[in-house]
Symmetry: C2
Subunit: 392 residues, 2 copies
Amino acid sequence: EKLWENGVVEVAKIAKKMGEDDPRRIIHSVKMVSTLTLVSLFYYLQPLYDVFGEEAIWAVLTVVLVFEFSVGATMGKGLNRMTATLLGGALGVAAKYLATLFGGIGKPIFLAASVFIVVAIVTFMRFHPALKARYDYGLMIFILTFSLVTVSSYRDDEVLEIAYKRLLTIVIGSCICVAVCICICPVWIGADLHNSVAKNLEMIGDFLQGFGGEYFGRVVEDGDDKSFLEGYKSVLNSKSTQETMANLARWEPFHGKFRFRHPWKQYLKVGTLTRQCAYKVEALNEHLNSEIDQTPSEIKSKIQAPCTIICLESGKALKELGGVVRKWTSSSSAISHITFSRTASEDLKSLLKTVYLLEDGDLLDIAPAAAVALQLIGVVKCVEKIAEAVQE
Amino acid sequence: EKLWENGVVEVAKIAKKMGEDDPRRIIHSVKMVSTLTLVSLFYYLQPLYDVFGEEAIWAVLTVVLVFEFSVGATMGKGLNRMTATLLGGALGVAAKYLATLFGGIGKPIFLAASVFIVVAIVTFMRFHPALKARYDYGLMIFILTFSLVTVSSYRDDEVLEIAYKRLLTIVIGSCICVAVCICICPVWIGADLHNSVAKNLEMIGDFLQGFGGEYFGRVVEDGDDKSFLEGYKSVLNSKSTQETMANLARWEPFHGKFRFRHPWKQYLKVGTLTRQCAYKVEALNEHLNSEIDQTPSEIKSKIQAPCTIICLESGKALKELGGVVRKWTSSSSAISHITFSRTASEDLKSLLKTVYLLEDGDLLDIAPAAAVALQLIGVVKCVEKIAEAVQE
């Protein structure tokens, strides 16, 4: 009894957290089920039922299968489903009429043979990466419709009418899904991608801004918020998510500031550069907790000034660039931050050139600090590249 | 005419390449379509048709939807589909009988209300990451079956019999899919994951083995095969692929050396450590093409000996570990390679300690070489961790 009660409380907590993390999830659930109810009216209401008959149930089925969280995914599935049903149905009906030319045992053999050849080819096509990324669902529905129509045409002579009604209900179902998805609190996956690119830039910026203080100051206070040191980690593995988003975003119609042929590739480019920057940040982060990095602070302090400037300025630049992406503005302050950090990076280089004599320690002591300095110089270059990509 | 001909040749080339890249794709297409033909016999053969009737078409539908490339994916979808159809159907039938308690207008209202509540809850559940990873398809089929049964029960009084026949054909269809998938040239996704983990280790090993020669020798010959320098890049972004594979592999029954509760988490752990190593390798790779890395070769030559040993030995160790994973063996030579590289790493450290005076250049010249040395020391630690994880 008690255990069961605890279970319910636990589930309620999880549900609450999921809802709070992204309230659009709750809206989506309500949207989806409202659409489903709307579509089941085709079945409940007598006048509509008279038109579509039993096949009205396919509209319900379509809603369950096509209605997705984001507009891009819903449109992709809807368009795929409509086109594939049309093509698969047409080809199936054609096979049926060809089959009637053969009498008796020839008919099922012809039907089976055509299923065999067409389905084998389309199944193989599904492995093609470009087709898989955008048309996988359509190819599956094509196989499905073609096999259903072809196989059932062996017994059923009203295939054409059934196919027509089914196509009609599927088209209606898909269109209702897309309409509801776009009109009521739409979730644009393109906007999500846009924000994710911006957020990744800002997280790297956060890290860099914090890194200088952490590395040179190292005043460890409990209760300090160190979350900025972890944020960049999600950037490292962002590639596949961003690519999926870009694929879905291509389905979306123009909306707000997103044009129809929005340059999604640019987002992926900025994303890739951001990840390269994140790899460097990962290397920097190693130095924070490394055991071999026992550089005495008097050595660190020699390079502290330019390094701190680089950290702060390139961090600011990245956050500024993130803001540029997020708000569709252009920003001169990002460029000035980059200029500052480039100057600091030149200073750092000439500072390193003046160190001829290792008065304060051996190379093993100095090397980590020097490595940090080099990484930071690399980060500056990387930030410059990102800035160029963002300008485009 | 000519253009069309070129198009055909082009498509044929792509198809040939896809087939050569992974011949299992061709086998899969043939397997899938054979299963489909087999299942459509339910429809073609009179005795079977007498039993299942129109509902036999659901077996065809099931094959198209459930039959996947790997055993894990097929079993996952099949089990999800069977369970979800059973539960959804049972709940739908229950709703139907409860609805009959209300007369007249109460019936459709009760049906619509129950669809509304159940579907909204399950749609929301689909956002839960753990459920999404393994049961997303099942939850969708549950929604589908429940809505279909509930909605159609408004008009159809034979719901119970239809639901029963449909469940039966779906179970038969799923079982045939799983049986064909396992018995004829099975593609075990668990084995694929196993090999991918091993291959990633070997690719990092390849890079390290080649890196020493590249960095210190830098004898650029055209026509040299530099592909080993690129291989590691795919490791950087392997996280999501490996996680998907592990999720699917959990569905697979025991086979060969894979037990039922195979420790897939260990693979993910080794995969994560391999990626960490790959980030370090990425940092090393920067030094190969970097403009700031203008270290004179006389400086490089000072650290050449231990660095080359580290590269070779840790490269060998990783390849050996890859072999250990791949062949299920344990290897003492991996441990000895690690010991060698650890010794070399200690040598390198003490070598760096002896450099007090920078006779040959300034710190900017030396720093990159020192950074490489430090990275290599880091790589050795990383390899040790991987070895530990592999032993488990």
